[in-house]
């Protein structure tokens, strides 16, 4: 099996700060890579590097064999890579429907306004936001705003989906449906990467987990193995969490 999206030796330096260092990763169709790490570990920078929002200092990004290193974000999007933002970025002056319509419209192929609106409506239906189509994004609850963010990414009809803390701010009761939705996307054959703080969510859906620390990969592998790794516990989880994690995994 070949990876849909590949990164090799991806690095980014901001002035004196090494935000991401020599990151390698492979995203496969139908598989979900979970990325965890403390704030400032370089998780969001990694996504920005993959999607072209930040130009890497060195390293390569390849999608389907095409080199997209340093390509502009819209080119990466056209190549089938969609993303969500950690801080949701709705177009506030537009309705929810128009927000998704924009995403459905510029996928690389030409779609008419008419067709895009239809497609947008279908996507909203899938994430359960159809009823809010005419609302302003500012009127949405936190959970619905996250749904909108996801709908916008899905409307691009991507093959790779990079999720930046989509579960943040969701109530316990809202996390499970969201995970079910993500799981269904995986079954549809999307290559997924999910940056997350909610660790038990990662363990529930991830096929592989990667831990970032100070911009470097601390470890990677099966969720259970990674979460019981001593270095991860020391650097990130802290002993108290590790104890609970162990109990839960058992």
């Amino acid at each position: 099996m070949t990876a849909v999206m590949q990164a090799r030796g991806l690095s980014k330096r901001f002035g004196g700060l090494q935000a991401v260092k020599a990151l390698d990763l492979d995203l496969y169709a139908g598989r979900l890579l979970g990325v965890i790490g403390p704030n400032g570990a370089g998780k969001s920078t990694a996504i920005n590097l993959l999607t072209g929002h930040i130009r890497p200092t060195s390293g390569r990004v390849v999608v389907d064999g095409a080199d997209l290193t340093g390509a502009k974000p819209w080119r990466v999007a056209h190549a089938g890579v969609a993303r969500t933002f950690q801080i949701v970025k709705p177009f506030r002056g537009m309705t929810v429907l128009d927000n998704v319509t924009v995403a459905a419209m510029f996928t690389g192929q030409r779609h008419t306004v008419h067709a895009s609106r239809q497609a947008a409506m279908e996507t909203l239906d899938r994430v359960g936001l159809a009823g809010a189509a005419r609302l302003s994004p500012t009127e949405l609850s936190v959970a619905d705003a996250r749904r909108l963010e996801l709908a916008k990414a899905l409307a691009l009809r991507p093959r790779v989906l990079l999720l930046d803390e989509v579960l943040a701010g969701l109530r316990p009761g809202e996390i499970d449906p969201a995970l079910a939705l993500i799981d269904s996307l995986r079954r549809d054959g999307l290559a997924l990467m999910m940056v997350e703080h909610v660790i038990h969510a990662i363990t529930a859906v991830a096929d592989e987990v990667l831990v970032l620390h100070h911009g470097e990969v601390l470890t990677r592998g099966e969720p259970a193995t990674v979460l019981s790794d001593e270095r991860v516990i020391e650097a990130y989880l802290g002993s108290r969490f590790a104890k609970r994690a162990k109990e839960e995994l058992r």
Binding site: T138, G238, R240, R244, A245
Partner: protein, 230 residues
């Protein structure tokens, strides 16, 4: 001597976020407000200090009504707010940031807060924006304390900090409270907060769903599952 938030309704524009929240802190106590991101924790603090308009309910300090007073009036009344994202003055030195903290009280004496956070001592002339996250958080709290507030509201203290640093700062907060300041601590990461606090509130979707002694909440299975579980 208490800070009381009563039946507070507030939101942004036409979007209500808080639906009747009541919280109170006494001087010398620490109260923790926990809940998921987006539940309205920050909005509660912002409404209490005048940064967000209150549509119904009241904010009172020692009986004095501060509802919808201008931000600076509330600050001058003795309520300090360490806001989300710390909001240090990035281009100014730590010294100038601290001076600004003491601006209202005309307090130029940095000795007390530097004792509390000795790390800041060697950073006094460094530009605030260039420090690490933990140091910035200490600077933000020190800046708030420079105003010698009666109440200190802290938003997401642990965000982005290494657990070790969080523990260090939490310990200092205990000291601060012991000297008579009331602290309202807003946290997504409930573990530490419930350890230092006397009282705790769980805020979900703009409503208080659980209140009680911090220790009891820490033992509550639902709270454990939702906010302490892995």
């Amino acid at each position: 001597m208490t800070l009381v938030v009563e039946d507070l309704h507030a939101g942004y524009g036409r979007v209500p976020v808080l639906h009747g929240v009541s919280v109170s802190v006494a001087r010398g106590d620490i109260a923790a407000l926990i809940g998921p991101n987006g539940a309205g924790k920050s909005t509660l603090l912002r409404a209490a200090t005048g940064m967000v308009r209150v549509s119904r309910g009241a904010v009172r300090m020692d009986g004095r009504d501060l509802t919808n007073a201008p931000i600076e009036t509330i600050a001058r009344a003795g309520i300090a707010h360490v806001p989300e994202g710390r909001r240090l003055f990035p281009g100014l030195s730590v010294r100038d940031n601290l001076r600004l903290g003491g601006w209202r009280a005309r307090n130029e004496d940095m000795g007390t807060v530097l004792e509390l956070f000795p790390r800041l001592h060697e950073r006094l002339d460094q530009v605030a924006g260039s420090m690490s996250g933990g140091e910035q958080q200490m600077c933000a709290i020190a800046r708030a304390l420079m105003g010698r507030p009666d109440f200190l509201l802290i938003d997401e203290l642990s965000l982005g900090l290494a657990p070790v640093i969080v523990e260090e700062i939490m310990a200092r907060l205990g000291q601060v409270a012991a000297e008579g300041t009331g602290i309202l601590l807003v946290e997504q990461d409930a573990g530490h907060a419930l350890e230092v606090a006397q009282r705790a509130y769980v805020l979900e979707n703009g409503r208080i769903t659980v209140t009680g002694k911090a220790a009891e909440l820490a033992a509550d299975p639902r709270v454990r599952a939702a906010y302490l579980g892995v």
